[in-house]
Amino acid sequence: MKQKVKSYSKMIFQLVRSLHTGPVCRAAESSLLAKLRKKTGYTIANCKKALEMHNNDTDKAEAWLNEQAQAMGWAKATKLAGRTALQGLVAVKFDKNHGALVELNCETDFVAKNDKFHKMIEDATLACFKFAHTHMQSKGPVTKMELDSEQLGNLASEGGKKLSETLALFIGSVGENAVLRRAECWKANSNDVKIAGYTHPAPTVAGDYSAGKYGALLAYKQANDHEDIGKQLCQHIVGCAPRKIGDKEADKPAKNTDDETCLIFQEYLLDPSYTVEEILQQNKVEVIDYVRFSCGESVEANMPGVEKQPLDTVQTMQ
C-alpha cells in the first residue's frame, strides 16, 4: 500500500515536472533514455551520457555508444584481467575430417548459462573450426594445432573482427572477466582418418556442435563395415579421463582397475565387461590420438620465458 502511494506520488510529480516549460521536456527525455537502453543494452549511465552528448539524437547516440563499446570493453577487460575465471564451458565442433575444441572461461556460472556467453563460445569454436580447414599440413595422420589465449584472440570471427575484440565487447557487457583459455584445431591428413567429438552434458539432439563442462576430440581409423563408435569412444574418454592411449608392449595394466590411466586397459564405459582394447579389436578401430578438456582445469599462469609458437608452425605428437 505504501509502495503504491509512493509510486503514484512519484508519477504525479513526473507529470507536473513534464508540464514545466523548458528547452527540452523531461518526460520525453526519460522515455528516449528508456528506449535507447532497451534497444542497445548498454549501461544506463552510458546511455544517458550518449544522449546528452548528442542532443538527444538517438541514432547518433547509438552510433557513438557502439564505437565506445569496443574501447570500454578493452578498458573493462584490462581492469578485470587478474580475476580468477574458472567457470565456463568447453565446446566442440567437428565434421568427418576436421575438429575444433575450445574452452572459454568466466567468473560465475550464472554468466556461463547466459545467451551472450553461448553466442561468444559458438563464435570462437566456429573460428577455430575454420582455422582447422585452412592451414598447412604436417607429417603424420593428423595435423594438430594447439592455440593459447593470445593465438585464439588473433583468430577472425564471423563479422571480420578479431576474437579478442568480440571478447572485450562481451566482457564490457557482463562485467566479468572472461578468458579464451585454449583450443585444439585438428585436421585429418588422409581420408581414412576420421574425427569425432563429444561434450558432457550432451545435447538432446546430436549435431556437429555442442558445449558442456567436459569435451573430447578423437582421431581414429575405422573400417566402414562396422558401426561407427567414434562418438562412444569420445564419451568414454570424457567419462574415464585416460592420461594416454597406452602401448601394449610398453605399458602394463594398473593393479586397481579404478586407477587405470591407459586408455586401452580401461574398462569400456558403456560395457564394463570388456576393456577398451577388446572393443577396439571387435570393431576394427585404431585410435590415433585424442584430447580431453575439463572446464577450469588449466590454472597454470603463463610461464615466463616460454616462447609462444607462431601460428604458421604446427605441433605434432612425437
Binding site: 526519460s30 533514455l33 544506463i44 549511465a45 556460472d109 550464472f110 547466459n114 557487457s173 563442462k213 564419451q235
Partner: protein, 457 residues
C-alpha cells in the same frame, strides 16, 4: 490445576488462536486452549515465552560487482548497533573458507541477524551450482531473496539467470535493493526501477508489488546517516519484515509422523515414538502404519507427551503413541504413521540429486541409468535403483540433476525429504525427493528388471 492457569491459557493463547487455522467449535476452544497450555508447559519446543520468534532464511543474489557482500556487511553493522547481530566485516564474508556439509564443499557465507520480528539466516551464494548443492545437501534453504542491482549499471545480462535460479528453486519473495544510488540522479533510479519491475514480471513475479529500496550499501557500512546510508538499510529490513510472511506450520493436512523408535509396554501394547511432521492427531483416530511394502491399519489408543496422556498432538510435538492390536515386530524404523487413507505407498520417486566429486570423496567414473545401490534416509536404508532422464547420457561426479528412484519396496517419502546414496558405506551422492510417482512392479525382487515409464514419453 489452578484458576491462574486457566486465565493464562485464555489470555496468552488468543493471539496464537488467531494465527492457527483450526475448525473447533467455540465451546471446546476453551478446553482445547487449556490442553494447549499443558502441552506448552511440558513440551520442550516452546519454553518460557508463548510467542516464539519466527525464523526466515534469506539470501542475496546479483552481479559480483554490484555490492552483495557490502550490503550483507552493512546489514550486520546497522543491526549490531541494536545489539541484535554481530558485525561481520566485508573481508570476513568475502573470504569465507569453503565449508563442508555432509562431505560436500559449499562456497557460501552464512551470516545471522534478527530484527524485532524475526531471526534471519542470511546466505550469500556466489554461483548457481553452489546454490543447488547447498539446497540439495540441506545446508540452507532460501525463503526470500534480495536482488542487488547497481543503479549506474542497471540490470546486467546475467540478471536474467539470477532470476531464473530464484524461480527454479521456488523462491516466492524477492526484494530489490538498488545499490550505488548516490552515484546517479533520480531519473536513472526511476528507470532502473521500471526495468527491474518489467524483468520481474517476465519471470512470473508480481513486478508491481515487489519492494524496491534505493540506497548505498557503502555509505551504510561507513555509518553515513544520510538518506541513502543507514536509513536505507532500515527501510530494507522493514520491507523484509513486512513483505515476507511468517512460515506457518501445516496443521490442516492429515497427520503424518515418521517413526524414530518403538517399544512394548507390558500389559498395554506397542508404543511408537516420533515427531509429528504435519497435521493434528487425536486419540482414537484411525491410522495406518506404512512402509517397506506394508500398510497396517490401526487405531491410536493413547497419545502421550513426556509420559502424560493428552487428547491430541500438533505438528512439531514429539509424541509416544500406543497403537491398538499391533505387534512390535511389525514396526521398523523408517515406517510412517499416517491418517487412514491419506497417503499411498510408492516405490517410485523423482528426486534432485548431487553426485559428490572425486575430490569430495565421491565416485571417479560417471553413472548411467539402472545404477543400483543402497539409499539411506534418516535411520533406515533400502536397495534403490537410479535412472536418468532419457535425454541424459550419463552423470559425472560433481554433476547435479533430476533422476528417477525406484525402491525395492514401497515406502512413504515426503517432498523435500533428504537421502544419501552409499557405495560400500562411502557416500557417493546426496539428494532430496521432489515428487512421488505411481508404484512400479519389481519382478521377483530384481531391481534390474524394472521397466521405467518416463513422464514425457
Amino acid at each position: 490445576m489452578s484458576g491462574r492457569l486457566i486465565f493464562r491459557s485464555i489470555f496468552n493463547n488468543y493471539p496464537n488462536k488467531l494465527l492457527l487455522n483450526r475448525n473447533f467449535s467455540p465451546c471446546s476452544s476453551v478446553l482445547v486452549s487449556i490442553f494447549n497450555v499443558n502441552n506448552k508447559a511440558f513440551c520442550t519446543k516452546t519454553k518460557a515465552k508463548v510467542t516464539e520468534k519466527k525464523h526466515c532464511n534469506i539470501g542475496t543474489i546479483g552481479h559480483v560487482d554490484h555490492g552483495k557482500t557490502t550490503l550483507t556487511a552493512a546489514i550486520t553493522k546497522v543491526l549490531s548497533k541494536d545489539g541484535s547481530a554481530r558485525f561481520v566485516s566485508y573481508d570476513e564474508i568475502d573470504k569465507a573458507p569453503e565449508e563442508k556439509a555432509r562431505g560436500i564443499t559449499i562456497n557460501a557465507a552464512h551470516v545471522g541477524y534478527s530484527t524485532k520480528n524475526r531471526h534471519y539466516a542470511h546466505t550469500d551464494c556466489p554461483g548457481h551450482a553452489d546454490y543447488i548443492r547447498n539446497m540439495i545437501s540441506g545446508a540452507s534453504q532460501m525463503d526470500a531473496a534480495i536482488l542487488v542491482v547497481a543503479a549506474n549499471d542497471g540490470p546486467m545480462p546475467q540478471t536474467r539467470e539470477h532470476l531464473l535460479l530464484a524461480k527454479q528453486v521456488g523462491i516466492q519473495y524477492i526484494l530489490v535493493y538498488i545499490n550505488k544510488a548516490d552515484l546517479v540522479d533520480n531519473e536513472l533510479l526511476e528507470l532502473v526501477e521500471i526495468e527491474m519491475r518489467e524483468m520481474l514480471t517476465d519471470f512470473g513475479y508480481d513486478g508491481s508489488r515487489v519492494p524496491m529500496i534505493c540506497g548505498s550499501a557503502l555509505k551504510a557500512l561507513n555509518e553515513d546517516e544520510s538518506e541513502y546510508g543507514t536509513p536505507s538499510i532500515r527501510k530494507l529490513l522493514d520491507a523484509i519484515d513486512n513483505y515476507v510472511p511468517p512460515i506457518v506450520r501445516d496443521l490442516s493436512s492429515p497427520f503424518l509422523m515418521p517413526i524414530d523408535n518403538a517399544f512394548t509396554v507390558p500389559g498395554r501394547g506397542t508404543v511408537v515414538v516420533g515427531t509429528l511432521k504435519r497435521g493434528v492427531m487425536k486419540k482414537n483416530d484411525d491410522a495406518e502404519l506404512m512402509g517397506f511394502g506394508f500398510s497396517i491399519k490401526t487405531t491410536l489408543s493413547d497419545i502421550q507427551i513426556f509420559k502424560k496422556s493428552v487428547g491430541e498432538a500438533l505438528a512439531g510435538d514429539n509424541v509416544g503413541v500406543l497403537l491398538r492390536g499391533l505387534k512390535i515386530r511389525s514396526v521398523e524404523s523408517g515406517m510412517l504413521l499416517c491418517a487412514a487413507k491419506s497417503v499411498q505407498l510408492s516405490n517410485h520417486y523423482k528426486a534432485k540429486i548431487y553426485f559428490l566429486s572425486r575430490s569430495e570423496g565421491g565416485r571417479k567414473k560417471p553413472v548411467f541409468s539402472k545404477y543400483s545401490q543402497q539409499m539411506f534416509s534418516g535411520t533406515w536404508n533400502i536397495a534403490c535403483r537410479i535412472d536418468l532422464e532419457p535425454t541424459m547420457d550419463m552423470m559425472m561426479p560433481g554433476d547435479h540433476g533430476e533422476v528417477y528412484l525406484t525402491l525395492l519396496e514401497g515406502m512413504v517419502m515426503t517432498q523435500g525429504q533428504p537421502f544419501t546414496i552409499r557405495e560400500n558405506n562411502v557416500t557417493v551422492a546426496t539428494g532430496i525427493i521432489t515428487e512421488t510417482l505411481p508404484s512400479l512392479d519389481v519382478p521377483n525382487g530384481k531391481l534390474g528388471k524394472v521397466v521405467i515409464k518416463y513422464e514425457n514419453s
